[in-house]
Structures are given as structure tokens and as C-alpha cells.
């Protein structure tokens, strides 16, 4: 038995196919979902991929958040459906208020693309169970609007509750508060991060590392053992 993991394609999504491939490499079945369909095709989990949905018009993720598919994703995420937002997907999740805080333009105003070192701060979410707490990983980061912000009360709450899932190491690439690269919701089923684990799943490409693969094996194990 395996799990069916949906990947939503919005107009302007770029990494939907890479994400489907990563899911397949992990041993799960990827299911293509379309932004105009409310139907999630009975998938066991959903990934909102990277890209520039709706051209980042208004704010990154602001228009996608009101697409028909998101009505269902929001409803089911609140009921426990595991959801992962990568880059633009993370922006959609903050705009949908499934995750706290908001994303703004990088503080240096440039697009950034690099192999980024991260520390796994929470290995207990639905998407990080195959990492070790405190593990240091390298996965690609590529974005324009990667600056995570939240008010001081929310930041303190996230830190106190262990809801910062990933933190940037060695350098802060975008001015994110507390070096935050990814966060989770209270239940741990919704995770969002700016770097791209789906681009680090095969030794042949990229940095040669497969540090992103545990995202997809984590969720598979969680679903199959559930």
C-alpha cells in the first residue's frame, strides 16, 4: 500500500512537475490537482509547489489563495489533512492564514538562488519525521519574496511552541525574522518553507545531495503507518 499525494498546479506554478517526481522517487503516487477544481481526488496529502502563481500580482500567493482548489485545501487542512507549501506554496499558506506571519520581498531587493544550509528545528511534523532534530541540511533556495515576518507576540509563540521548523544557518538570505526558513501550524500537519526540497532528491542533479528527499519519505511513512 502506498499513499496518494496531490500537487496543485496554479497558473504560473513552476515546480509542480519536479514535486511530482520527488513524490514518485520517495515511493508514493503523485496526483495532479488543478487550481480550478474544488475536488482533491481523495488524496492523502497535498503539496502547494513553487513558482510565481498569478505573476505574484497584488502580493505573492494573494490571488491563488482564493482559487477554488484552496477552498477545499483550507477546509481539509483545518481537519488534519497534511499540507506542505514550498516557496510560493508557503506564501499561499500564509495568505490563507493556515500558517501565521507573512512573506515580503527580500531585504536586499534581489532575486536569490543558492544552496542554502538549514537546521531542522522540529522533526515531529507530518513532513519532517525522517529528519533528526537539529540535523543540518543543504537544499536550494530561489526566490524574490522570502522575508518571513510576524509580529513579536506571534514570533515568541512560534519559538516557545517549537513551531519554527527550519532556520537559515551561516547567513540570513532575505532578512527573515529570527532566521526563519519554515514554520508549522499548531497541529503540525501544515508546513511551509521557502527553500526547495524537491530540487534535492537525486544525487545526479543539483548539489548532488538528497537532503530534500526525507520530506517525501516522512509523509509517506506517516500516511502508510496511520
Amino acid at each position: 500500500m502506498t499513499a496518494r499525494i496531490g500537487v496543485v498546479t496554479f497558473p504560473g506554478s513552476l515546480d509542480d512537475r519536479d514535486t511530482q517526481r520527488a513524490i514518485r522517487l520517495a515511493g508514493a503516487d503523485p496526483v495532479a490537482l488543478w487550481h480550478k477544481d474544488k475536488d482533491l481526488k481523495q488524496v492523502d496529502a497535498v503539496v502547494l509547489p513553487g513558482g510565481f502563481s498569478y505573476g505574484d500580482y497584488l502580493r505573492a500567493g494573494a490571488i491563488s489563495r482564493f482559487s477554488p482548489v484552496m477552498d477545499t485545501v483550507i477546509e481539509q487542512a483545518k481537519a488534519g489533512l497534511p499540507v506542505l507549501g514550498i516557496c510560493n506554496g508557503f506564501q499561499v499558506l500564509t495568505e490563507a492564514h493556515l500558517l501565521p506571519g507573512a512573506m515580503l520581498g527580500n531585504d536586499h531587493l534581489h532575486f536569490i538562488c543558492r544552496d542554502q544550509k538549514l537546521r531542522v528545528e522540529n522533526a515531529e511534523t507530518a513532513w519532517t519525521g525522517d529528519y533528526r532534530q537539529g540535523q543540518e541540511i543543504h537544499i536550494p533556495l530561489k526566490n524574490m519574496d522570502g522575508r518571513y515576518v510576524a509580529d513579536p507576540y506571534t514570533l515568541d509563540k512560534l519559538e516557545a511552541e517549537g513551531r519554527v521548523v527550519f532556520r537559515y544557518l551561516d547567513m540570513n538570505p532575505n532578512g527573515s525574522l529570527n532566521d526563519i526558513a519554515g514554520v508549522t501550524n499548531e497541529a503540525g500537519n501544515v508546513v511551509g518553507l521557502m527553500p526547495h526540497p524537491e530540487h534535492a532528491v537525486e544525487p545526479l542533479i543539483g548539489s548532488g545531495r538528497t537532503d530534500g528527499l526525507p520530506f517525501f519519505t516522512s509523509i509517506l511513512k506517516k500516511l502508510v503507518n496511520a
Binding site: 507573512a102 531587493l109 510576524a150
Partner: protein, 90 residues
Amino acid sequence: MARVVVDVMLKPEILDPQGQAVQRALPRLGFEGISDVRQGKRFELEVDGPVDEAALARIRDLAESFLANTVIEDFTVKVEEGAEVAEAAK
């Protein structure tokens, strides 16, 4: 037809690097004495029918849920007086 203007600005405590870049360019253009610039967004909504309290309430909802992200931005809604006059003057 009437025009309603929604202005959206980053909250004062949120860093605005675009505004800072504009401010830093000012001395080169010969503009002295401007210590801070913050950049925002302006939306001009052309409303069919009368802009009564009900219409304004709907626009405020729209601004709060969509045009602005109130986690990071503040907004104001105002009816633009004399919009038709300005249109005719073009």
C-alpha cells in the same frame, strides 16, 4: 459612477527596503532634506451605482480580506470627491 480609493501601506514597524532605495536615490537627484520614504499601493475602484454605507462596508471587507494583508499592511478607504470633474478635465 463614483470612485473609491483604497490606500494600502506597510505597517510602520515593517521594514520597507523599496522605500529606502528610493530615499537613498534622492540626494543624487538634488533632493535634500527627505529623511524617509515609504512606498505603498493605491487602488482606484470604479463603483457602479451609489456609494452608500452598504457599498462602503463591502469595499472595506474587500480591502481587509484581499487588497491588504492586515498581518503586514494597514489600509484606508475613501470616496474620491469630484472624480467626474477630474475625468472631464483630461
